[in-house]
Symmetry: C2
Subunit: 349 residues, 2 copies
């Protein structure tokens, strides 16, 4: 079968290849891939900056944002042929740490987790895969191709969980949210914020265009310019870009008792001049909190299912701005200003 | 009666003055001051960098870390003549925000709180004060002068509460703690960490001396040098200095899923070159959290009472390294390397 594979840490090694059919030992459930979303982590892996091949192998099958259809499932698995499913990206350690053992592999304490398409497990840019039933999450087939948005939605579901837990260390009534970056994660973070009834502002560097219209269709406000000018003292900032200046500005601009959730990973290695003393003083005197948030566990997949089911289908569909077959993968990482989510589409939903 | 007063925002204006006896309208309970601790906030106010006089007044009575003895208390107040008491520093707004209304004035959302000796309310460097009974916390008279350590202990009790709430957003089993700065807050933070059974490391810049002995008497380990060299990947860092490089190093060095609590306020206005992209990436991929923590509410005063009662009395007494009468206040801010806590002593405990 066909697959997009890459030699991790080797730039430009991504290619369309013939790979073996999934081995029965990989799991009881056989899934036919419908679509796989392409994200910044894939771009990092393709650039040779990140990624681990499975043990004893040179090449890794790319892709972690999956949507598939069950082809074979054992009795009692809770899955039936034809079900639409998403595979949980991170798997606990073989000898699990206490967080992995508790099903919280997103907070793995020893770094021994694996991740489909990223770390030591093949991803989903292939026609079929096998997995144990407990790695799969059912999504409503009525979502169609939009089911491929589940995995990025889990990322923001986890971030919102973190924000809630941290904000609620004291009595807290958040009203205003700022999201930085109108990419898929930013737009989905804004969706979940609107579903909570919050006043939502989204900051991006592009004037007008498709992203601003997507923000406005949510009932949120689109801004360009600086963090400080977008909205005064928001209770929550979801920082989705990883851009150093935005990260610092978010910490400065969040309101008293507010929470900044960091979701983006950007470029490293450049120095920014920061008045850390002033930033620290402000964080102390205003009880501000900042939290980095990565990955998601099953509970976040369930929250994300609820969020997608409650969302406007047309709005979700508009997030998928390009659909490419596997043999056009080389185009997938070319990102236009109005592109939100590019998906590799392998079969009809 | 005598008092140390200051004109806020006017450097060098602190002086010993005669002030009026407390007016009956200030509260039902009359308290005779035993001692008042001197801290970095007092130094900032004396330097003209901080502070607010009471409305309509030029001068503020300094001092917020109090220990006193009840002289008059109404029936039904829960207080009796002779009780040792500490006055809660922060008072809710006259028209309270939702946090102040819930008794969580330490997380006041609108900044309209007042603080004895700091913001719009006289402090305790005076022979007597009056206050409503609900602003007082009883401490065991057997603590003697060590009762004056209650207020700084409330600061670390709140910080530990924040750390617990934030760390426990996921399953969490902290083992190792690093405290930066072996001042009063750092040493009391280390005390509470040891009372929790944690492995505790304290970092300061001084080689040897009284502070290192105080750390060792707690069963903790004293370090000089860098944050990274003190202990690998601590689960918690309590940053007590506000020194910019230490703040950044704490964020970098805390372990996966760890929490940095910022407690110190230091100098502002200088730029530090920081690889924010790398710091952000690490915070995201390792689920790290940072929280600023200031002040304390009644629940933290109660936790601090419990902590002081459980502590070794000789160790607590050794934290009070200088006792000065009010007329020697000018010496109080001269800080020697072995000084931990200087107190102004007004009467015998």
């Amino acid at each position: 079968m066909k697959a997009i594979t890459v030699v991790p840490l080797k730039a430009g090694s991504a290619s369309l290849e013939e790979v073996a059919e999934p081995a029965p030992g990989e799991g009881d459930v056989l899934v036919e891939t419908i679509a796989v979303g392409v994200c910044g982590t894939d771009a990092e892996i393709v650039s040779g900056d990140y990624g681990w091949a499975p043990p004893g192998r040179e090449r890794l099958v790319l892709g972690h944002e999956s949507l598939g259809r069950v082809v074979e499932a054992p009795q009692g698995s809770g899955l039936a042929v034809g079900d639409h499913v998403v595979c949980i990206v991170r798997r606990p350690d073989p000898v699990p740490c206490y967080a992995c053992a508790a099903g919280q592999w997103d907070n793995c304490r020893n770094g021994q987790y694996t991740e489909h398409g990223i770390k030591s497990l093949d991803g989903f840019m292939r026609e079929r895969y096998r997995t144990p039933a407990d790695a799969l999450v059912k999504v409503d087939a009525a979502l169609g191709l939009c089911g491929v948005l589940l995995e990025p939605t889990t990322i923001v579901a986890k971030a919102w969980d973190d924000v809630d837990e941290i904000g609620n260390r004291a009595v807290w009534r958040p009203e205003k949210v700022l999201v930085t970056g109108a990419g898929p994660v930013g737009l989905l973070a804004a969706l979940l914020a609107r579903q909570r009834g919050l006043e939502v502002h989204v900051l991006d560097h592009l004037e007008g265009g498709a992203k601003s219209r997507l923000v406005e269709r949510l009932g949120a406000t689109y801004h360009t310019g600086s963090v400080a000018d977008a909205v005064a003292a928001p209770d929550v900032i979801l920082e989705g870009t990883g851009v150093p200046q935005l990260v610092v500005d978010a910490m400065r601009s969040v309101g008293s008792g507010g929470v900044v959730a960091l979701l983006g990973v950007g470029s490293v290695g450049s120095q920014l001049g920061v008045d850390v003393g002033s930033l620290n003083r402000d964080m102390v005197l205003s009880n501000k909190a900042v939290v980095g948030s990565v990955n998601a566990n099953r509970s976040h997949y369930q929250s994300a299912v609820t969020a997608l089911n409650a969302a406007d289908r047309d709005w979700l569909a508009a997030l998928i701005t390009r659909k490419l077959p596997l043999d056009r993968f080389s185009e997938a990482l070319q990102h236009g200003p109005d592109d939100v989510k590019t998906v590799m589409q392998l079969s009809e939903p």
